[in-house]
């Protein structure tokens, strides 16, 4: 009996060692094939008004949701939306939690070192909303670059980098989501919040006594693309073709979500 156990034990160890000995390489995925055989497109995104947000019934709606739905329909598969924390979305993509990031992700060189982007399918800018209580006397933009000024942003967005570069002397506090970052400014604990337009404009309109826009122009403009893992050249081609074919539709949808407020009644205000 004891020798039986010993043989089983040694056998298990040898089996593990044998599988370990096999050489392994990071394979070139053929992602579109995988998606089609799986029958489901898994999309990673994060809640960002108006790219993606919940309506009154708790369903996801928004520009990115429309894009993901159409992409899945054109590929002939189901769509699975996987909401992910924004500052962990790239590691999640690399860890294969989903196939593609369709979340209004701006193309930046730092991100391009980690993942590949499709051709741009939309563009937007970063804007500020400032606190009337703390910042009404500050002159834009010079007075904002001082150690007594506090900016807030959502961790991981392009705006954080912009503030670090343009206002290096100011203190930057990063939060887990936009709502808290804006709340800090509304409460008078920070001078200004940076976020992707049109959110700063929406919030300023909703809180005219607490917030104002220090500058009518966007701080930066950026282009957005789908994010895929490196080594997926053929899948990228499929996505780029799709983007090129649907240019007009993308423009129309972008205009609907970003330039109008027609959808405001279906989401919680």
């Amino acid at each position: 009996m004891k020798s039986m156990k010993r043989i089983l034990g040694i056998g298990a160890v040898l089996l593990m060692a044998a599988t370990w000995m096999q050489p392994v390489q990071a394979q070139q995925e053929n992602m579109v094939e995988t998606i089609k055989s799986r029958g489901k497109l898994q999309v990673g995104f994060s809640s960002f008004v108006p790219w993606a947000m919940r309506d009154k019934q708790g369903q996801w709606v928004g520009f990115e949701v429309d894009v993901a739905n159409k992409l899945a329909k054109d590929l002939g598969v189901q769509l699975e939306l996987i909401p992910t924390a924004w500052d962990g979305i790239i590691p999640s993509l690399i860890a294969k939690k989903f196939d593609v990031i369709i979340g209004g992700m701006s193309v930046t060189p730092a991100r391009q070192e980690q993942i590949d982007f499709s051709t741009p399918y939309s563009n937007s800018g970063q804007g500020l909303a400032a606190s009337k209580q703390l910042a009404s006397k500050l002159k834009w933009p010079d007075d904002y670059n001082s150690s007594s000024v506090t900016f807030t942003c959502r961790r991981g967005v392009l705006g954080c980098k912009v503030i670090e570069e343009r206002f290096p002397k100011a203190t930057l506090r990063q939060f887990d989501d936009d709502a808290i970052a804006f709340q800090e400014v509304i409460n008078g604990n920070a001078h200004a919040v940076i976020s992707s337009e049109p959110k700063p404009s929406f919030f300023t309109l909703k809180n005219p006594d607490k917030l104002f826009k220090p500058s009518p122009d966007n701080l930066t403009i950026s282009v957005e693309g789908f994010g895929v893992r490196k080594g997926n050249a053929n899948s990228l081609t499929v996505f780029n073709d799709w983007i090129a074919k649907n240019k007009d539709w993308l423009k129309e949808r972008h205009g609907y979500w970003f330039k109008t407020q027609d959808w405001a009644t279906i989401v919680q205000q």
Partner: protein, 270 residues
């Protein structure tokens, strides 16, 4: 004539001996590590360990400059020690309140402990910062410290109460019959017997405090966890930075555990 008689060595078969057991364990660890590395390789993740030290420290022109992770660690330690002292004081007060003979006192203490122990610390931190600190005008770092102190105080109160209650009732009765005042009773008879019982779990509370201090990152206090998340969102080196951060927390907590162990040995009941 002095002959030292060595006890005969127990006959242990070779496959049960200490060195073989250790060898097996090391081999198993090596196998598991091999699996982990294989998994990481098949994911195509690029390990960039050489880029980590610059976030710990930099030497510029012979001057030592602390990196963001080190600065975060100092903030964490600062928050932790202040919260620990406050937690001990609040916990002691709540425990004594619970043991008192009034009617309202024990009820108040009991509700405090139950509410604080049974709600998530994340929720408590957000309530403390966005509601209580906003109303009372408490600055950010103190809101974090207060929340941590109040959270751990609930556990400290229960530990202190358990320690005091564990002292046999006869001790208290004997002290009272000898004419000890209440204060002297606690100081000379009850606490010296209760404290050695309390030290191990209090050490655990201290270690928990260090770990829970990471929660202040949701209100953007620049502690170790906040700095780590910022570095990761800039560089995307999730694995390397998180492992380094965990190791830094581990160094702090293990040092504290060793310190508490030394204290326990010193105050051990004979």
């Amino acid at each position: 004539m002095q002959t030292s008689i060595r006890p005969p060595a127990r006959a242990v078969p070779w496959h049960r001996s200490a060195w073989f057991e250790t060898l097996q364990f090391v081999a198993l660890l090596g196998l598991l590590a091999g699996f982990a590395i294989r998994g990481a390789q098949s994911m195509g993740y690029q390990w960039k360990w050489d880029k980590v030290p610059r976030y710990l420290y930099r030497v510029i022109d012979g001057e030592f400059i602390a990196g963001p992770l080190t600065k975060g660690l100092l903030v964490t330690l600062d928050i932790t020690w202040i919260a620990a002292v406050l937690a001990l004081l609040i916990g002691l007060a709540v425990a004594l309140l619970r043991l008192s003979r009034s009617v309202v006192g024990p009820a108040l203490a009991w509700s405090y402990v139950e509410v604080i122990r049974n709600t998530p610390i994340l929720v408590q931190m957000l309530i403390m910062y966005f509601i209580i600190a906003a109303i009372l005008g408490i600055p950010r770092q103190w809101a974090g410290i207060l929340c941590l102190a109040m959270y751990e105080a609930a556990f400290v109160a229960e530990i202190i109460r358990a320690g005091i209650v564990a002292v046999p009732k006869g001790q208290r009765e004997a002290g009272l019959s000898l004419g000890y005042s209440s204060f002297d009773l606690y100081r000379d008879i009850i606490l010296p017997q209760a404290v050695p019982l309390m030290l191990p779990p209090l050490g655990g509370v201290l270690v928990n405090l260090v770990k829970h201090s990471a929660i202040v990152s949701v209100i953007a206090v620049f502690d170790l966890t906040t700095e780590a998340r910022t570095v990761i969102s800039d560089t995307f080196m999730a694995f390397e930075i998180w492992l380094t951060t965990a190791a830094m927390y581990l160094v702090v907590t293990v040092t504290l555990s060793i310190g508490v162990g030394w204290l326990e040995r010193r105050y051990q009941r004979h």
